[in-house]
């Protein structure tokens, strides 16, 4: 128990066993697995001057990839915002045959390896595939275009929205809706003024998570994207390309941009969620 005193000063002897060992193992693991690898990136980019760094990360082909990645992730997470809300809604509010199967199927994108999703979507939406064929007949090309990237990103991140909205939707009490109605509000007004405001924080978090995931998605996207420079190259692929050229500093510089972006997003989501919860729950 003496080891625990270094970390915090307990006011009394801890009742439950295992504080030192559980915290020790956790900290060791987090240091070795999560934090230590970051030192490699720091070492690699430390050698670069600021102008070199800027030169690498502002390369036009790379900038094009930022635009493609952010734009597609944005579109995909917007689509997921709507579609995910719809899915969560029907799963919580309605009874219909096959509901349990549908509920289980929502997690398919989490469970299915991204490479498998990638080759499947690429095959399906190519001009010879089931869906690609169909869509091409009405003039829509999906595979090897940014639209394909959006489809792949939407596929891999749909569970984020459904699974964050679902529990909140379940919690909305019937009474709140009834209160709205006894006050004369239409279904539409109750939905927008009573239900949506309660869902909005969860929905936004879900969309933000979906966006973050889409930014980093690799396996599902590269097969369907076609990877044409300036058109359908995503940033993760650019890191990969630089690596295959053994240009470690460039790869690290790009990775640092991606890493900082996703970590800031994570931080913002956390802070924002916390602030919202504090407001709703009093202190």
């Amino acid at each position: 128990m003496s080891g625990s005193h270094a970390v915090s000063r307990p006011k009394h002897q801890r009742v439950l066993p295992g504080f030192a060992i559980s915290l020790g193992v956790s900290l060791l693991f987090i240091s070795l697995i999560l934090l230590l690898p970051a030192t490699g990136l720091v070492m690699q980019t430390k050698g670069m001057s600021l102008s070199e760094y800027w030169y690498v990360i502002s390369d036009p082909r790379l900038v094009a990839s930022y635009k493609v990645t952010v734009g597609s992730a944005f579109a995909a997470s917007l689509f997921n915002g709507v579609f995910g809300l719809l899915l969560a809604w029907i799963l919580v509010r309605y009874q219909f045959p096959g509901k349990r199967i549908l509920d289980a199927l929502v997690d398919l994108p989490f469970a299915l390896p991204t490479a498998v999703a990638g080759i499947t979507l690429a095959t399906l939406y190519s001009s010879t595939g089931w869906l690609g064929n169909l869509l091409e007949s009405i003039g829509i090309k999906v595979a090897y275009t940014p639209l394909g990237i959006i489809v792949a990103m939407a596929f891999t991140s749909i569970p984020f929205v459904v699974r964050t909205v679902q529990p909140v939707l379940e919690e909305i009490s019937q009474e709140e809706e009834e209160a709205g109605m006894t006050l004369g509000a239409s279904d539409w007004a109750v939905f927008w003024r009573v239900i949506m405001p309660s869902l909005r924080p969860a929905l936004l978090v879900g969309v933000a998570l979906s966006f973050t995931r889409s930014l980093g998605e690799f396996g599902a996207v590269i097969f369907i994207a076609g990877n044409m420079p300036y058109v359908s190259e995503i940033t993760s692929l650019m890191i990969f390309v630089r690596l295959q050229e053994f240009d470690f500093p460039a790869a690290s510089a790009i990775a640092s941009v991606v890493l900082l972006t996703s970590l800031s997003l994570l931080l913002i989501i956390n802070l924002w969620q916390g602030a919202y919860l504090r407001r709703i729950h009093g202190k």
Partner: protein, 376 residues
């Protein structure tokens, strides 16, 4: 606005929540729906509001048939058991909600709206909390905001589901009085659901006692107390001692105990005798009218009275008996815990088996006090 319910019934699947019942509520009346859980009182309230559809029957508000009018067009004020305040809105926005969702043509201007909200918050004495969120309020404050919200659209009918259920005793008492004043001042018709008899008796003009989806009795609190018309109502109002009376051609017998009923055919049969605890006297000796041997289990002074808990000796009851005595009587008799005493009813309410309706009221002794009654 008067309310008329005709032949209303409700089933949930196979469960009959309400047997066909009818009820007339006068304009400006305050009605308490009183009953144990599962008696159908909340269902009845929700049917009046339009939150639930009745399977049969009609509802009129005044002369207007509202049976098939949707809840949002019925224009009732409804206060939910857990208040159902909108968590993401400030107190002011909660109160303004009913005005904001009005049809454009009827909707007051923003200036009028905020004036009305301010006025309502003043009525409920919470003007200073307008910018707070519901989670930052105490239970009593939430209750009053829920009331202000319900009153914003000036409903003529106010419905309240267990309005004070979640509050502590002191707050509950204050709010009760306050609600009653508000009701009298603003003149709407109120119906509230409660399982608390004190609350029903204190607040209501008339109390509707319900059990198992049926109305047992509708009466003013005073009438209800004086003339409970069924064993259920008697039991429900509590503070009453029960004697299982078996007629043996001489008196009512139960184990070693007996009570002598007056000579009348109606009472010379089996049934239940109810004795209110303040209409029960205790003595150290049995007498010719009644012999109910008991042991004193506890003596609890509560305010002006002393409650004496009695456990029967040699006869059966489902619950302990209780006698309420004045301090003076207790001092004169000087009972203490563990003593053996005899209980004697002064007034009894007899429900004969197989006879429905009001009990027969009996007063002992049949002769003037002090005469001819003898100890045995």
């Amino acid at each position: 606005m008067s309310i008329r319910l005709d032949n209303i019934s409700k089933q949930f699947g196979k469960f009959e929540a309400l047997s066909p019942l009818s009820l007339d509520i006068n304009n400006g009346e305050m009605i308490g729906l009183l009953g144990p859980s599962g008696s159908g009182k909340t269902t009845l309230l929700r049917i009046i509001a339009g939150l639930e559809n009745a399977n049969t029957g009609t509802i009129h508000f005044g002369d207007h048939d509202v049976t098939n009018v949707h809840v949002r067009e019925r224009r009732v004020g409804f206060v939910f058991q857990n208040y159902a305040l909108f968590r993401h809105m400030t107190v002011a926005d909660n109160v303004a909600f009913g005005l904001q969702v009005m049809e454009r043509a009827l909707r007051p201007s923003p200036a009028e709206m905020s004036k009305r909200v301010k006025q309502l918050l003043e009525i409920v004495q919470l003007g200073h909390l307008a910018a707070r969120y519901p989670e930052q309020l105490s239970g009593g404050q939430k209750q009053r905001i829920a009331l202000a919200r319900a009153l914003a659209t000036k409903p003529e009918v106010l419905l309240l589901d267990e309005p004070f259920g979640a509050l502590d005793a002191k707050v509950r008492k204050d709010l009760r009085r306050w609600l009653r004043n508000l009701h009298d001042e603003l003149g709407f018709t109120s119906v509230f659901v409660t399982h608390d008899q004190d609350e029903a008796l204190e607040l209501s003009d008339r109390v509707v006692v319900m059990s198992n989806g049926k109305i047992e009795q509708v009466d003013s609190p005073v009438e209800l107390y004086a003339h409970p018309n069924s064993r259920f109502v008697f039991d429900f109002f509590g503070n009453v001692n029960q004697f299982k009376a078996n007629w043996n051609n001489k008196h009512w017998q139960n184990g070693n105990a007996f009570i002598l009923p007056p000579v009348a055919e109606a009472t010379q049969k089996n049934g239940y005798l109810y004795v209110r605890s303040h209409e029960l006297s205790l003595s150290k000796k049995a007498n010719s009218q009644a012999s109910l041997p008991c042991k004193v289990v506890a003596i609890n002074p509560v305010g002006a009275e002393v409650r004496v808990e009695l456990s029967p000796i040699g006869w059966d009851t489902t619950e302990l008996w209780e006698a309420k005595l004045t301090h003076q009587v207790l001092n004169e008799q000087s009972f203490s815990r563990g003593d053996e005493v005899y209980a004697t009813p002064q007034v009894g309410y007899f429900f004969a088996d197989g006879v429905r309706g009001e009990p027969i009221i009996l007063r002992w002794p049949f002769l003037a006090p002090g005469h001819l009654m003898f100890d045995i």
